[in-house]
């Protein structure tokens, strides 16, 4: 059975005004329902630009970005927020608020202009909290949460949007090992259990290789490899993209990358 195509990029090229080179050049990507995609690459390789182009915040100079068969820039923000839930890298908390209130923000694209919050919206919020194993946090103030709990709440907010695609921009940056693993396990479970499509930008090559169905490797805005982790993460490609000597070892059928120490030559 062919799964539904949610996000399709073909030959997308982007350049910010005044920038000396393209931020993205000829990048293609197809994300289907029930697939977990990881986007890898060094700093400045165009990962966040890829997300912005995919979600219509940056208009490609060439190529096409489509969401459920419609150009990304043709969606209204409100309609798009019912299809795609995003965890951006940064956001502010100007005023103190509670966890349940924060997750309720995810229902805003579903609320009518004058109507109130309905029982169905509250139910969606509770479902999202349960799915992220965060039901017991619902009445806490946001600023009392640990980094890992905070990311789970932001994921719950995105789930409350009831999206078909989740986009996560470095969600595990600054999380410790346990919380990092919990988040990857959670995204994998949502993809398998609810048939969501997921696109995660991350620096964790090894976790991406173990959890994702497909990886896209970017280098200076160009695709350096795309496909199953075992096909993309070869020693030659990884060394070229990350500009560091590595060794690749298989673990549970997935490639794991081990960066090598520099050997000083004996005098």
């Amino acid at each position: 059975m062919d799964r539904e195509l949610i996000l399709a990029l073909s030959g997308v090229t982007c350049r910010y005004s005044g920038a000396p080179r393209d931020s993205l050049q000829g990048v293609s990507l197809e994300v289907r329902a029930g697939e977990f995609h990881a986007v890898l690459g060094p700093n400045g390789s165009g990962k966040t630009t890829l997300v912005r182009a995919a979600l219509g915040l940056v208009r490609p100079a060439a190529g096409r970005a489509e969401i459920v068969g419609r150009p990304a820039s043709a969606w209204s923000r409100r309609d798009l927020a019912r299809v795609v839930g995003v965890l951006p890298q940064r956001e502010d908390n100007l005023f103190p608020q509670r966890v349940r209130e924060t997750v309720l923000l995810g229902r805003y694209p579903h609320l009518s202009l004058l109507g109130g919050v309905r029982a169905a919206d509250r139910a969606a919020v509770e479902r999202a909290l349960v799915a992220c194993d965060a039901a017991d946090l619902a009445d806490r103030w946001l600023w009392t949460l640990s980094g890992g709990e905070y990311q789970r709440i932001r994921l719950a907010r995105a789930l409350a949007q009831e999206p078909r695609l989740l986009v996560l921009d470095e969600p595990t940056a600054s999380l410790d090992l346990r919380h990092e693993m919990e988040l990857f396990e959670l995204v994998r479970a949502l993809v398998d259990g609810q048939g969501l499509a997921a696109l995660m930008i991350t620096h964790h090559v090894n976790l991406a290789a173990r959890f994702a169905d497909r990886v896209l490797l970017l280098a200076e805005g160009r695709p350096a490899g795309a496909g199953a982790p075992g096909d993309v993460l070869t020693r030659e490609t990884a060394e070229r993209v990350f500009a560091w000597p590595v060794s690749i070892a298989p673990f549970e059928g997935r490639p794991q990358m081990i960066p090598l120490r520099l050997r000083k030559k004996a005098p």
Binding site: L57, V84, V86, E91, D92, N93, L94, Q97, L105, L113
Partner: protein, 313 residues
């Protein structure tokens, strides 16, 4: 319960505004007294409407520039309005509406100029440039205003100076009617923006991912809040601190969601300004103080308290 208390406070303040004053109106004559019907009641209602408009405008602009210390007058409007009003006084323009109209034109011109500055970076309104541009435009207008005042005659000067500190002595049912016809449109625009403004507190990019059309939102909110402030300043002069303090008080009690903040800021702002105006015309009766002096004398201590709270937490 909080809402009941607020409603009681609003009604009590309006009643006090009608009952108190230099002329002694016996309680049983209140309903028939021309002093009450022609002077005190329209004045109290106008003060309430202007206070409400400033409160709502303050909530909206603080959310827009994402800075809780913003004030509607920080965006250059007071400078523009003052320049317009002082020019009208210096040129001795005739008619009862010359001064408010000139002040309104001045405020709207300043607003347009700041808006244009805010768009300098491209199609996106930049809140930081709005703030800085507002301060700059306000300072420039204030300089010209002072130049005009320094060349004016003594009585003109006194009038202009008093106008700059705000007051409701010219209030009439006609002014009330003008505000009642004018204010609903910007208020409706802001009410419709309540939920997107909740999202904007997260930042512009996160707000877009949650469905807010941020570019349009920023423009609409800036224009609506500024037009509301411009009308307030045109009929009542420059009344500081209401638009700064009221949003904070409301956030303390009602939280951060704009669906609750807008109506409560209207009622709290209205109540506070009606009370301040009653004080302004009774404490030194039969003369009266500019109401802006009363709001500043009350507002600065409250503001200091809020700042302390802010830095402690």
């Amino acid at each position: 319960m909080k809402y009941v208390l607020l409603a009681v406070a609003a009604v009590a303040t309006l009643a006090a505004a009608v009952l108190l004053g230099p002329a002694d109106v016996p309680l049983r004559d209140v309903l028939g007294s021309p002093i009450v019907w022609q002077l005190r009641l329209p004045r109290a209602v106008l003060a309430f409407l202007v206070g409400g408009a400033l409160g709502v405008s303050g909530v909206a602009l603080q959310a827009l520039v994402r800075n809780p210390l913003a004030d509607p007058f920080l965006l250059g409007l007071s400078g523009g309005a003052g320049l317009g009003a002082v020019a009208a006084i210096a040129l001795d323009l005739p008619g009862p509406w010359a001064l408010p109209l000139a002040a309104f034109v001045g405020a709207v011109s300043a607003m347009a100029l700041v808006y244009r500055l805010g768009l300098m970076g491209g199609a996106e309104l930049d809140p930081r440039i709005l703030l800085l541009g507002g301060v700059a435009v306000g300072a420039f207008a204030a300089a010209i205003t002072t130049a005009i005042v320094s060349l004016a005659e003594a009585t003109e000067l006194r009038n202009a100076f008093l106008w700059l500190w705000g007051g409701f002595s010219g209030a009439s049912w006609t002014t009330v009617l003008v505000i009642l016809v004018y204010a609903p449109l910007p208020l409706a625009v802001l009410a419709a923006a309540a939920r997107p403004l909740d999202l904007l507190a997260l930042g512009e990019e996160p707000a877009q991912y949650l469905g807010a059309d941020v570019r349009r939102l920023k423009r609409l909110v800036y224009l609506a809040a500024s037009l509301l402030t411009a009308a307030a300043v045109a009929v009542a002069g420059v009344i500081g601190f209401v638009g700064l303090i009221v949003p904070h008080l409301c956030r303390l009690v009602w939280g951060r969601l704009h669906r609750a903040l807008f109506p409560t800021a209207f009622l709290v702002g209205g109540t506070l300004l009606a009370a301040a105006d009653t004080l302004a015309r009774t404490v030194v009766a039969p003369r009266e103080l500019p109401v802006g002096i009363v709001t500043a004398l009350l507002g600065v201590p409250v503001f200091a308290f809020l700042l302390r709270r802010w830095t402690v937490s």
